[in-house]
Each structure stands twice: as structure tokens, then as C-alpha cells.
């Protein structure tokens, strides 16, 4: 059969963010995929080096629209480690609380997107309706629905009241009931199971070889979770299970995420019941002493890694971050091989991709000559100004 190449992206209904996949098809079967990253590059790492630590915190929070708290906490942990700051316990608990709320809203969002990708819009509408509950809580708690901005060096910015906590506990009961219903749907609905099980297989050996992280790894039976393996915030003091299944496919990834929802409800209950009294932050000097630190955080999508190098001034020398999606991209290409075109959206969605988090560096490739160059912050800025000037847009 003749091979055809179809472009999925940079603009395509299956992709919520621009990224380019060139899929080689034999009939409906995928025989090869090549991926081009870089459509969402915003130069955040470089921008961080030009700004003070306080400004960076807001910038880092905007790496991702969904797991914003993950990135900001991961970054702040690295900076606090360099500065040698002891964060008050209450603040750590509150960071955990927001972190888990974020995980719930991210997983519910994923469940909806997955439903939409396989044409099951009812699941999409239901889970996004429930996600609103979490969004409202987050808005109440922090003032924002996304990009909460609750973290501050040395603690958190806002305290919670008793009423807030009661409200959250009540919401957890509602959501737990709804999630049980989704578990029921996921285990009984026949078209859903048909579409998900056996699709996008990634064996345990593949996970080890390709370094998949988060729910993708746990769905292949790899017991790996930073929250337990390298506890940060208040995770050392709460009881929770790391959900693993041996399905090795998209269905397994669904089960892991739904299972993690249930664990998150339990973590939030424990955090609220054991919330210690005391201050919520300590003062931190604007200038961070020289040093470097490496921080890990279990974001909803997997392990998030930040590296910060400080040089004694109020600006970091170097910031490096690796979002979980980047780690899952190679496994994803492996998963796509030999499946149908119809499975492509759900396989891509199954790693819960966040491409804007992923795009870290950009190398300019000139298509005609094939030469490539790496631009620094200044020339990149100049390039963009010139580009718009040429288009007649003045600013």
C-alpha cells in the first residue's frame, strides 16, 4: 500500500497547543511519526536570568497554565535550599493543599480531554463540570483560578480560614462520589474500554529505557513517585498510596489518574485535619547567596525538575527546568508505532501533554541552507521586533 504523510499540527483539533507531528500512514496504520518541538518557545529560562528572584517567581508560575503551582513550588524549593531557609510547617501544609487541589483539577481536565479525543463528549462535559468545583475553591483560597500566586519565598502569601477548610472538605465529599461514578463508567462502559485498552502499549522495559515519568510510568507498573521517594512540602507526614497498574496501555493510564484522584481527596482531608498553627512565612533577603540547587516535584503529569544556580546577586545565574512532558515525549513516539490513525489523538492525549511547558530551547534552522544558529536573549528580542516591523506592526 502506498504510504502517505499527513500533518497533524501545528494547528489541528486534536492538539490544544501547537506542535507538529508528521505521521506516515499505511492505510490507517501509523508506520512512523516525526515530531517537531519549538512552536511554543517563550525563552522563559533566559528571561529568568534577566529578572530578580521575586519577578522570576511570577514568570515561572506561567510556564504552565495547568500545573502552575508545581513549577513555582519546584523553583521556590530550589531557591530556598540555596538560601538555607526553614519554611514554617503551616506554609508547607498549605503548599501541599494547593498542590493536591491542582492535581485534582488537572486530572479531571485530562479525563475530559481524553473523553473528547475518543468522541465521548458526555464524559468531557461531566468531568469539566466537576472541575469547576475545584476552580472555585482555588479562586476562594488564592484569589485566582489558574496561576494561583500563593507561593512566596519563605512560605505562602495567604492564610486559610476555618470556613475555607470546611468548604473544601465538603467539596471533597461531592467529588469523591462523582469520581466513584467515573470509576464505574471507566470499568463498565464498553465502547470506552474498547477504545482504550490495548492501545498505546508501553512495556515496563520501555519505561525504564525511555525514562517515562508520572502516570505514564505508573500505568506500566513502575512504582515511581517523587512525593513518596523524595518527600517535599508535607508529603512526608501524610499517608497515601502510589497507584500503579500493569495494563501498560491508555486504559491503564486512565485507571491510574482516576485512582490518584481518590488518593488526592484523602491527602487533602489529612492535610486539613492536621493543619498546624503558626506563621505562614518567614522573611527572605532579596539577595540569594551563591550556590546551586536541584529540586524535584511530582506534578500531575509526572516528575518536574528545576535547577537553579545563584551567584550572590538578586538575579539567578542560570535556571533550567525540565517539564514532565519532555520526558514523556520519546515514550509517546514509541507508543504511536503500529497503531491506527484513530488512536493517535488519544495516545498523544494519554501522556497529558503540555507543549508550552516543554519548549525550552529553540535552534533556528534555515530551511534553504540547513544551517542552524542559537540565538541569545537580546538577538531573539531584536529578531521579533524586526519581524513585526517588517509586517508593518509598530510598537
Amino acid at each position: 500500500m502506498e504510504k502517505i504523510v499527513i500533518p497533524i499540527g501545528p494547528q489541528h483539533p486534536a492538539l490544544k497547543e501547537p506542535e507538529s507531528f508528521r505521521v506516515i500512514l499505511e492505510g490507517e496504520k501509523i508506520v512512523g511519526v516525526s515530531l517537531r518541538l519549538g512552536y511554543n518557545h517563550r525563552g522563559i529560562e533566559k528571561a529568568c536570568e534577566e529578572r530578580t528572584y521575586v519577578q522570576d517567581l511570577y514568570l515561572i508560575e506561567r510556564v504552565c497554565g495547568i500545573c502552575s503551582h508545581s513549577h513555582s513550588t519546584c523553583f521556590i524549593q530550589a531557591v530556598e535550599e540555596i538560601a538555607g531557609i526553614e519554611v514554617p510547617k503551616r506554609a508547607l501544609y498549605l503548599r501541599t493543599l494547593v498542590g493536591e487541589l491542582e492535581r485534582i483539577h488537572s486530572h479531571l481536565l485530562w479525563l475530559g480531554v481524553a473523553g473528547h479525543e475518543i468522541g465521548f463528549d458526555t464524559l468531557f462535559m461531566y468531568s469539566w463540570r466537576d472541575r469547576e468545583i475545584i476552580m472555585d475553591i482555588l479562586a476562594d483560597l488564592t484569589g485566582n483560578r489558574v496561576n494561583y500566586g500563593i507561593n512566596a519565598y519563605g512560605g505562602v502569601k495567604r492564610d486559610v480560614s476555618k470556613e475555607h477548610l470546611q468548604k473544601i472538605l465538603k467539596a471533597m465529599d461531592t467529588l469523591e462520589e462523582r469520581t466513584k461514578y467515573y470509576v464505574k463508567v471507566a470499568t463498565e462502559e464498553i465502547t470506552l474500554i474498547k477504545r482504550l485498552s490495548g492501545v498505546g502499549r508501553l512495556t515496563k522495559a520501555d519505561v525504564e529505557a525511555l525514562d517515562a515519568v508520572g502516570p505514564v510510568a505508573r500505568a506500566s507498573g513502575v512504582d515511581r513517585d517523587v512525593r513518596r521517594d523524595d518527600p517535599y512540602a508535607a508529603y512526608g507526614e501524610v499517608e497515601f498510596k502510589v497507584i500503579t497498574v500493569d495494563n501498560e496501555d491508555v486504559y491503564g493510564r486512565t485507571l491510574v489518574r482516576v485512582g490518584e484522584l481518590m488518593e488526592s481527596y484523602s491527602i487533602i482531608r489529612q492535610v486539613i485535619n492536621n493543619l498546624p498553627d503558626g506563621p505562614i512565612n518567614v522573611r527572605v533577603p532579596r539577595k540569594i547567596p551563591a550556590g546551586e540547587a536541584f529540586s524535584r516535584y511530582e506534578a500531575p503529569r509526572g516528575e518536574d525538575v528545576h535547577y537553579v544556580k545563584a551567584n550572590g546577586s538578586d538575579k539567578p545565574e542560570r535556571v533550567k527546568l525540565r517539564a514532565p512532558t519532555l520526558a514523556n515525549i520519546k515514550p509517546m513516539l514509541k507508543m504511536l508505532e503500529n497503531y491506527n490513525l484513530a488512536d493517535l489523538p488519544i495516545i498523544i492525549a494519554a501522556i497529558d501533554p503540555c507543549f508550552s511547558c516543554t519548549d525550552r530551547t529553540i535552534s533556528i534552522k534555515k530551511l534553504d541552507t540547513g544551517s542552524s544558529e542559537i540565538m541569545d536573549w537580546k538577538s531573539l528580542r531584536q529578531y521579533s521586533i524586526d519581524w513585526y516591523r517588517r509586517k508593518g506592526i509598530k510598537f
Binding site: I118, K194, L341
Partner: protein
């Protein structure tokens, strides 16, 4: 007078309005079942008018004449079929022995035009959509034909009006056709390209499928043809499988007809709410493994009943 029949009632105008109304009912029910608000009643009309006001874009590599005439072809074929289907009684506008075959073939033409439209667009997404349309067509068409023809067999006539009249006089015979009714509902999901069988236009995979390159008036014509297809298919199912109260006053029969059509549309909406989209191979598997044998079972049941009856 026949010009009025063809253009106004039960012809083109009636079909267009009821088609759009049914699209609204379907969308509203779908939305309600998903905890959403849903569109206002005039949304399908507004969409139609908006599309009419847009310019037609014909792809440069496409087959231009085919690309332009196919929407009208689909619309004409589907609007023609209503004249053989009874709307206000057991008698259709025209009927002859064998018109059920004609109607079933007229109903197949839009599907073929979808295929040709995708092919004429010469875009990758359209091509894949077109191939999927045709693959799916071969999966549901045989069970659909068998279901309707079994009912015709029991009635002893190949004219829809006679079939309708037969079941109306022999009240309980419709019970034998329950399997056929189920089979035809599933096949209709495939024909109307609704979830779980909306594989040819699965937007997350192949953008708009067959209609990816269509825009403006031509797309409006296709949309209208699909809306009318819903009315005609529902009317056909109502005439053959739900033959109740056909000998009342014509006005009452017409009201009953609308109720039946609404019932069928509601059933289709419910089915598309509770299922996820299947893959094309799973769809073909499902149709040949379960739906086709069921329609054969229906055929055998009806042959036996026919034998006992005489």
C-alpha cells in the same frame, strides 16, 4: 398541485424546516443530557443563513465541477425520497410496488456523494474521511436493507404505503419486527454518522473528514441534506416499524407522525450521548459480527411467521 407537494408539503420546504427543527431537538437533548444549556431554537436556521452568506472556497487541486455539484446532488436525492414515504396516513404521495427499494437506494446516494465529495476535495483529511465513509457504508448498509426488507416480506408487499397499511390492519405483527427496529436504529447511527459511528468526520483525528474543504453555501447544502436525511430516515422507520394509529383523522396522523419522528430522534440522541466513538475496524467488526446476523435472524423469523400466517 403536485408542484406544491414537491416544493412545500411534504416536499422541500417542509423537509428543510423539520430537518432544522430536528437538528435543534437533537442538539438540545444532547446538551441537556450532558448538563449543558444547549442552543436556542433558531440556532440551526442561524447557522444555515450564516453559511449561505459566506464565500465558497474551492480547493485549487480539487475537481472543481464535481466539488460544486455534489452538495445539490445529495440534497436532491434525499428530498426526492420523501414522496414515497407516508406522512399523513398510510398512503404516500406516490407509490408503486418496489418503492421501498427506490427509497433505500435514494438514501444511499448522499453517502456516495460524501465519498465523492471527499475524493474531489483532494485533501488528505478529506480523502481519509471519504475512504472511511465508504468502508462504513459497506458495514451498515446490508443490515439496514435486510431489516427493512424483512418487514416488507412479512407484509407481502414492496411498497412502503402497503407495508404501512398492512401493519396498521394487523396490529400485533409489528412485534415480530422488534429486532429489525433495533438493527435499523444502529444502522441509522452509521448512516447519519453519529457517535459511536461518526468515524468519517472524527474531528480529533481528521479535522472535518469529508467536509474539511467545504465552506459557505456548498457546506450549507450538505448540512441541509444531512438534516433532511434525519427526517427521511426517521419517517421511513416510523412508517415501517412503528405503524400505530394510521387510520385516524389525517391531521391526527400527522401529529402522531411528528411524535414518532421525535421519539426516534430522541433515541438517536440518547445513543450518541452514552457511547464513545469506535474505531473503523471495530465498527466493521461490530456490524458484521452482531448486527448483520441479527438482521438475518429477523429475516428467518419473518419467513417462518409468513409461513404460519398462510
Amino acid at each position: 398541485m403536485s408542484l406544491v407537494y414537491i416544493l412545500v408539503f411534504p416536499g422541500f420546504l417542509f423537509l428543510s424546516i423539520s430537518g432544522m427543527f430536528l437538528e435543534y431537538v437533537d442538539r438540545k437533548l444532547y446538551a441537556k443530557m450532558q448538563n449543558r444549556v444547549g442552543p436556542p431554537w433558531f440556532q440551526p436556521f442561524a447557522d444555515f443563513v450564516k453559511l449561505l452568506a459566506k464565500e465558497n472556497l474551492v480547493p485549487g487541486k480539487g475537481k472543481k465541477i464535481m466539488f460544486r455539484i455534489l452538495p445539490f446532488f445529495a440534497l436532491a436525492a434525499i428530498a426526492t425520497s420523501i414522496i414515497y414515504i407516508p406522512v399523513w396516513g398510510t398512503n404516500a404521495l406516490f407509490s408503486f410496488n418496489g418503492d421501498i427499494i427506490v427509497v433505500l437506494y435514494l438514501l444511499s446516494i448522499p453517502t456516495l456523494t460524501f465519498f465523492l465529495a471527499g475524493y474531489s476535495s483532494q485533501s488528505l483529511f478529506s480523502l481519509i474521511g471519504a475512504v472511511r465513509t465508504l468502508t462504513q457504508f459497506f458495514a451498515y448498509e446490508v443490515p439496514l436493507f435486510l431489516a427493512f426488507l424483512s418487514a416488507a416480506l412479512l407484509a407481502g408487499s414492496w411498497s412502503i404505503s402497503d407495508i404501512s397499511a398492512f401493519y396498521n390492519h394487523n396490529h400485533w405483527y409489528w412485534l415480530f419486527n422488534i429486532i429489525g427496529f433495533g438493527v435499523s436504529m444502529v444502522a441509522l447511527l452509521g448512516k447519519l454518522e453519529k457517535v459511536p459511528f461518526d468515524i468519517p468526520e472524527a474531528e480529533t483525528e481528521i479535522v472535518g473528514g469529508t467536509f474539511t474543504e467545504y465552506s459557505g453555501k456548498l457546506l450549507a447544502m450538505f448540512r441541509l441534506a444531512i438534516d433532511i436525511e434525519v427526517v427521511v430516515c426517521a419517517a421511513l422507520v416510523a412508517a415501517v416499524f412503528l405503524p400505530f394509529g394510521m387510520d385516524l383523522h389525517p391531521a391526527l396522523v400527522f401529529v402522531l407522525f411528528i411524535v414518532k419522528v421525535l421519539f426516534i430522534v430522541a433515541l438517536l440522541s440518547l445513543l450518541r450521548t452514552v457511547f464513545a466513538r469506535l474505531r473503523i475496524d471495530q465498527m466493521v467488526d461490530f456490524c458484521w459480527k452482531y448486527i448483520a446476523p441479527l438482521s438475518f435472524l429477523q429475516l428467518i423469523v419473518n419467513i417462518i411467521v409468513q409461513g404460519i400466517k398462510i
